[in-house]
């Protein structure tokens, strides 16, 4: 099983970047949701 | 058609007059290009004995970097003197402005090339009179000007304007740089036309494609 390290490294990088982006999107969604809620509140006043 | 051509000449001539009156700009760009030439020749001559192989690359690095600095001027001049809005108020087709500016940019780079190239040929002990090299240079500079004028207009309204143009411009003109270097090789060693032909074709295709695309797309960059 030579070079197993390389194989694992390649797949690890792929998942790291893809999941990183998914997390980034999650965080953005939460921030946007907060902003929308704040806007709604201030508009009701 | 004639009227449009006259307007292009007007834009072009205005820029030429401005540049002639403020000669410091072109002289500085020229000095910069010469410096790049010398430094790279120096660096590569120390590193390797095969200077003939790297010679075309050195010439084109100098012309490319000198060119980018020069292209920045095309619209930076307008922005600095708050002339951009004035230019845009002129009731002319945006494409006319593009072609006038592009002609100016091309001429500017050609002027730099006219000085840098003989110096380069002398440094490498090559024959000075090489008409085929002139063809390669003209084709490549048209390519540079076509893309560079479009991106110059874009970069001028962006923060970090001075670095924006180079990073926009350089990746896109990679085919021109590769073709120019590959076409220059046979010229310097007196090789046959056949070796150059494909590269000239690529440059011609690039020039045509980008002149058309830039003409179509320029109005979107300068609209307000």
């Amino acid at each position: 099983m030579e070079n197993l390290g390389y194989l694992l490294a390649a797949y690890a990088v792929i998942w790291a970047l893809v999941f990183g982006y998914v997390l980034f999107l999650q965080r953005k969604q939460r921030k946007l949701q907060r902003q929308i809620d704040a806007l709604k509140e201030s508009m009701e006043k | 058609m004639n009227r449009a051509f006259l307007k292009i000449i007007t834009v072009f001539w205005k820029d030429m007059l401005t540049e002639l009156r403020t000669r410091e700009i072109i002289i500085s760009v020229l000095v910069f290009a010469l410096l790049v030439l010398v430094i790279f020749s120096f660096a590569f001559s120390i590193a390797t004995d095969m200077t003939e192989t790297v010679a075309p690359g050195i010439l084109w690095v100098a012309l490319t970097f000198g060119g980018v600095i020069g292209l920045n001027r095309i619209f930076a001049v307008e922005k600095e003197n708050a002339c951009l809005e004035g230019l845009m108020l002129c009731p002319v087709d945006r494409a006319v402005i593009y072609w006038g500016k592009m002609a100016g940019g091309f001429t500017f780079m050609l002027a730099v090339a006219v000085v840098v190239t003989p110096v380069f040929l002398a440094l490498f002990n090559l024959p000075i009179f090489l008409p085929r090299l002139a063809l390669v240079i003209v084709l490549a500079l048209v390519g540079f000007a076509s893309v560079g004028t479009l991106f110059s207009a874009l970069a001028v309204n962006t923060r970090a304007r001075d670095i924006m143009l180079p990073i926009l411009f350089l990746p896109v003109v990679v085919p021109v740089i590769v073709s120019a270097v590959k076409a220059t090789g046979p010229v310097l060693v007196g090789g046959p036309w056949g070796d150059m032909l494909t590269w000239l074709q690529i440059m011609i295709a690039f020039d045509i494609i980008y002149l058309v695309v830039a003409t179509l797309v320029f109005e979107f960059v300068v609209e307000e």
Partner: protein, 226 residues
């Protein structure tokens, strides 16, 4: 979100998940080790789909850029930008997994072959795309400039590929992937391509949706300030 969207999203997620599991199973269990490449060769089954998705993403950016300049609807700009972001991520993956595969397989990290070089130039062009958008004076300008770059950049891709190809065929130090694909290899590859394409669709819909929301929030804030 109306119910149409939720149904569509569920289908996409379900399909994507199933395809990914199938892909993993096929790459690590089903497909036999390729005789020349050893087990490292299995990187190929993710490297190629990732490259395909990157190209697809930039093509989508190109189309959306044209549509945005034509129709000026925010959603086209959102798709263009989201797709470019994803394209950059996937191109980064190509540039990383390529060398990781090449080093044990052929002994070198890098070679100036047509595909790898074009990927590098592509990466540079679209990173600048993202930079210009973030450094533009205002979002509307950023959208316009982005659209121009999205169009000009994509047109360059075939030219770059052709040029580098011609350059490299004069210097055949190219790495040639020996041997064709057996049927098992082909099926595995296709499943992987399908899996990554669905992943791309999910990501681009999500990201573009968020960007549209952002634009809406900005608009509301401006309205409120008046």
């Amino acid at each position: 979100m109306n119910s149409n969207h939720t149904l569509r999203d569920s289908i996409l997620w379900g399909l994507g998940f199933a395809l990914m599991i199938a892909a993993l199973a096929m790459v690590f269990v089903y497909v036999p080790t390729e005789k020349h490449g050893g087990i490292v060769q299995r990187i190929f089954y993710f490297h190629v789909p990732v490259a395909w998705v990157a190209f697809l993403a930039f093509f989508v950016t190109f189309i959306s850029s044209v549509l945005y300049l034509w129709k000026r609807a925010i959603k086209w700009d959102a798709v263009a930008c989201a797709s470019a972001e994803i394209g950059v991520i996937f191109t980064t993956l190509v540039l990383i997994t390529g060398p990781i595969w090449a080093k044990p397989a052929w002994g070198i990290w890098w070679t100036w072959d047509a595909r790898l070089t074009t990927s590098l130039v592509l990466w540079l062009i679209y990173v600048v795309y993202l930079l210009v958008r973030s450094l533009a004076a205002d979002p509307a300008r950023g959208a316009r400039y982005g659209a121009v770059i999205g169009i000009v950049g994509f047109i360059d891709v075939p030219i770059v590929f052709l040029t580098v190809n011609l350059w490299r065929t004069q210097h055949p130090t190219t790495i040639i992937f020996e041997g064709g694909l057996t049927t098992t290899m082909l099926i595995t590859l296709l499943v992987c391509i399908a899996a990554f394409t669905v992943l791309y669709v999910i990501l681009v819909i999500r990201s573009a949706g968020l960007k549209t929301m952002e634009a809406e929030v900005r608009r509301l804030r401006i309205m409120k300030a008046e």
